[in-house]
Amino acid sequence: MDRKQERAFEGFVAESGDSLLRLATLLTSDQGLGEDVYQETLHRLAARWSRIENPRAFCRQVMHNIVIDQARLKRRQVPQIQLVDAHDGGDPRTADSTSAVELRPLLLDALRTLTLQQRTIVVLRYFDDRSENEVAGLLGVSTGTVKSTASRAMAQLREQPQISGLFARAETEATTRRVRYA
C-alpha cells in the first residue's frame, strides 16, 4: 500500500469505521469480540486494499468468516461459566431504554440465543440493510433459506422476555406517535 492508497484507506475507515465496528459487535454479540473482529478486519482490508473494488462488501465477508472461525474454535473449547454484569431485572418497558449502554446488554444477550446463521442473517438484513439476495450470496444459501431463517429468528427473539418487552415498548411509542400526529 503506497501513501496514496493509505489516504484512501484512511478515508474509507473514517467514513465507515464506526458502522463496521457496530456491525462487528452485533455479529459477534459481544462488544470486546466485536472490537477484535473489527481490528482484524481492518488488517485484512489493508493487506488487500489495492485489489478490492468494494471494501464494504469485503469487510462484511471477512467479518462473517472470522465469526465462523471463532464459533468453531469455541466449540472445541471447554465451556466456561460466564460472569455477566448484573442487569436491572425490572420490566424493560418501564425502564429508560433509550440509552445505548443500557440497551446493548439486553440486545446482545438476546442475539446470543440465536444460531450463528440466524444472527448473521438478522444483523445483515435489518442492521446493515442488505437485500435477501446479497445475504444469500454472502452465506452461500438460497434466498428462501434467508427468508425462513430470518422469520424463525424474529419469532425466537419475540420469545425472549427482555426483547419482547422492548418490542412492546417500541410498539407503544409508535402507536402514541401515530395518535399524536394523526
Binding site: R3, L20, L42, H43, A46, E53, A100, L103, R125, A174
Partner: protein
C-alpha cells in the same frame, strides 16, 4: 406484523450501538502493520543478495550507537576500525549543523492550531506508471490535544485510491482525528534536546514499534512456521531505525527550536545520511535535501528543509520505483479552527 417487528429490531440494533465509535488507532495500526509486512516479505526474498551486496552508501560515519561524537568516513569505511583521528566534520555534517543552528534561532510561532496546506503525489510503477496528485488538503492540528481535522479538496481529479474503478470509495471532504492522533506540544517538549539522549529515545521508540510489528507478523505467519523456521530476516541497523524516527519527527510542524535543532545533530551522527545543499522542493523553493537509503529494505526517505529556518518543507518515500511525496505549501498558526477552504 412482520414489517413492524423488523423495523423495531432495526431501531433497537441502531440504538444499542450508536455510542460505539471506532478507535482511530486501529487505522494507524493496520497501515503500519501492512507497511512492515510488505517490507518483511520482500526482505525474505532479497536477503541473500542484500547480504552479498555489502552496500556502503554512507557519507557520514558515527561512533556506533553513541551519536554524540561523529567521525568522518568515506564510502566503505563502515567496517574499518577507528584510528583515533582528529574529529573533522564533513561537508554534509556542516550543512546539518547549519540547519541545526537555523532551527535553534527560529522561534516557534504562537497559536493553538497549526494549519498545514499540503500537496501529495504518488508516483507508481506497479501496473502502469502513473503520477497523480492525491488532492490538495488542509490539516488543522490541535497542539494541545493532538486531535484535529483535515479538509480535502475532493473535486480535484485523481482524488481517492486512484484505481478509479466502480466501488472505489470517494474520500470524505473532512476527516476528523481524535485527540492523541498527533503528538501534542507537551509530549514533544518532554523529549530530550541533548542529541545523544534524543538518539537513545528515538532508537527505543523504533525498537518498540519494530517488536510490536514483528509480534503481529509472527502471529499472522503462524501457519508458515515450519517453512520460516530457518529463515532469519535481516534486522535493520540502529542507524536505520534512528533515521526513520528522526525523519518522522522532523515532519511534525510544532517541534520546539531546541528539539528540531537536536534532531539535525542526531542526523549528523547517523551513518549513511546524504545531504545535498542547493536542492529545491517540488514547488521550486530552495531547500537542503537530506536522504538515506535503508540498509535492509532499500527504502529511501528524503526530507527537504528550509535552509533559513530549518523547517521541513517536503518529505518523500521511495521504494522499488514507487514514490510518495508530501509537500507543505504553508504552515501557519491560529487560535481558531479555520473554515473549510475548499467549500463555497
Amino acid at each position: 406484523m412482520p414489517e413492524i417487528d423488523e423495523d423495531i429490531l432495526r431501531q433497537l440494533m441502531v440504538r444499542s450501538t450508536d455510542d460505539l465509535f471506532a478507535p482511530s488507532a486501529a487505522v494507524a495500526g493496520a497501515i503500519k502493520r501492512q507497511r512492515r509486512h510488505r517490507m518483511r516479505t520482500r526482505v525474505i526474498g532479497v536477503a541473500g543478495t542484500a547480504a552479498a551486496a555489502g552496500l556502503a552508501v554512507g557519507t557520514l560515519a558515527s561512533t556506533s550507537g553513541s551519536g554524540a561524537h561523529p567521525a568522518p568516513a568515506g564510502p566503505g569505511a563502515s567496517g574499518s576500525t577507528s584510528k583515533a583521528a582528529p574529529i573533522q566534520l564533513t561537508a554534509a555534517q556542516r550543512s546539518l549543523f547549519g540547519l541545526s543552528a537555523a532551527a535553534a534561532k527560529t522561534p516557534r510561532p504562537s497559536g493553538r492550531y497549526v494549519v498545514l496546506t499540503e500537496r501529495t503525489w504518488a508516483i507508481g510503477s506497479g501496473s502502469g506508471v502513473d503520477v497523480s496528485e492525491i488532492g490538495p488538503k488542509t490539516s488543522v492540528i490541535d497542539t494541545i490535544t493532538g486531535g484535529g481535522l483535515t479538509y480535502q479538496d475532493i473535486t480535484v481529479s485523481g482524488s481517492g485510491s486512484g484505481s478509479g474503478s466502480a466501488g472505489t470509495p470517494t474520500p470524505p471532504a473532512v476527516l476528523t482525528a481524535a485527540p492523541g492522533n498527533s503528538p501534542t506540544v507537551a509530549q514533544l517538549d518532554a523529549m530530550p534536546t541533548d542529541p545523544a539522549k534524543l538518539r537513545a529515545v528515538l532508537l527505543a521508540q523504533a525498537k518498540y514499534q519494530l517488536a510490536q510489528a514483528n509480534q503481529m507478523s509472527a502471529a499472522k505467519n503462524k501457519k508458515f512456521e515450519k517453512q520460516l523456521k530457518n529463515v532469519t530476516p535481516p534486522q535493520p541497523t540502529d542507524d536505520d531505525l534512528v533515521y526513520e524516527q528522526a525523519a518522522d519527527l522532523l515532519w511534525e510542524p510544532d517541534l520546539s527550536p531546541a528539539l528540531r535543532s537536536a534532531v539535525y545533530k542526531v542526523l549528523a551522527a547517523t551513518q549513511g545520511v546524504i545531504v545535498k545543499t542547493g536542492a529545491a522542493d517540488s514547488s521550486g523553493r530552495p531547500a537542503i535535501e537530506i536522504s538515506r537509503r535503508d540498509t535492509v529494505y532499500k527504502t529511501v526517505v528524503e526530507t527537504f528543509e528550509d535552509p533559513v529556518t530549518g523547517a521541513t518543507r517536503e518529505s518523500a518515500w521511495i521504494n522499488h520505483g514507487e514514490t510518495d511525496e508530501d509537500l507543505y505549501k504553508s504552515i501557519t498558526y491560529t487560535n481558531t479552527i479555520p473554515a473549510n477552504p475548499y467549500q463555497g
